[in-house]
Amino acid sequence: MVIDADDIVRRAWRDLPSGDRVLLEAISADQWQVCERALGTYADELLRSADRGALPEAEIARANDALGLWVPELRVVLINESHSAFDGLDNPTLTYDLSRVAWHEWGHALSIDRAGEEDIAAGERYLALLPDGLAGFIRQAGYRRREYTHEIVAEIYAILMIWRRQGKIGRPPWLHSEVYELVRRVAGWNQ
């Protein structure tokens, strides 16, 4: 049976702690769209058609590589189910990957709205507190320094959701308490 990507994302939404869903609804970040488009080009088209301006070419190119995208001006999460990263996956693996991307993007939505200037400025310091493998992923993916905090919140938020799905709560032992507190404060995580 072919599993429906939109159903997976809907389930990922329902799996969020109820308080987090309320928080996302309060900041108008409860809409998503699963599509089969390069996300930079698609987001640019949506922005133009909504009279919200156009994305710079460089941003379109960056976003075209993305599996998921939070578009703050339109208050929508976009997920590209035709991205090559999702090719050939069995149903459980596709469910894991799509859910993880959706949780990451909702983490982005919370971080971009709620992180303060001090949080953003401290991005590099927070990155140095992450386990090496995770920090390496964020460094190598080509994010700007001012994006580090948002990426950290989004990644940790997604991993905490997986942690929660496994029936575990609290701070995982590998996660530095300062980063955990950042995610609690910015994303409202209280599990």
Partner: protein
């Protein structure tokens, strides 16, 4: 007029796949005994128990 807030995306580093992401997730989530960076240093060295007489 405020400048446009740019989209924030989830991208993989060149040459990596979601399988690498899943592997890293599993390593982290399985590492129950692994302390976060810096925590041990803050807590100080644990005392070595006295040797049995």
């Amino acid at each position: 007029m405020e400048p446009m807030k740019l989209p924030a995306g989830y991208r993989l580093p060149k040459g990596t796949t979601m399988a690498d992401v899943r592997r890293l997730d599993q390593e982290l989530l399985a590492s129950e005994g692994h302390e976060a960076k810096g925590h041990k240093a803050k807590e100080g060295r644990k005392k070595t128990p006295p040797a049995d007489k």
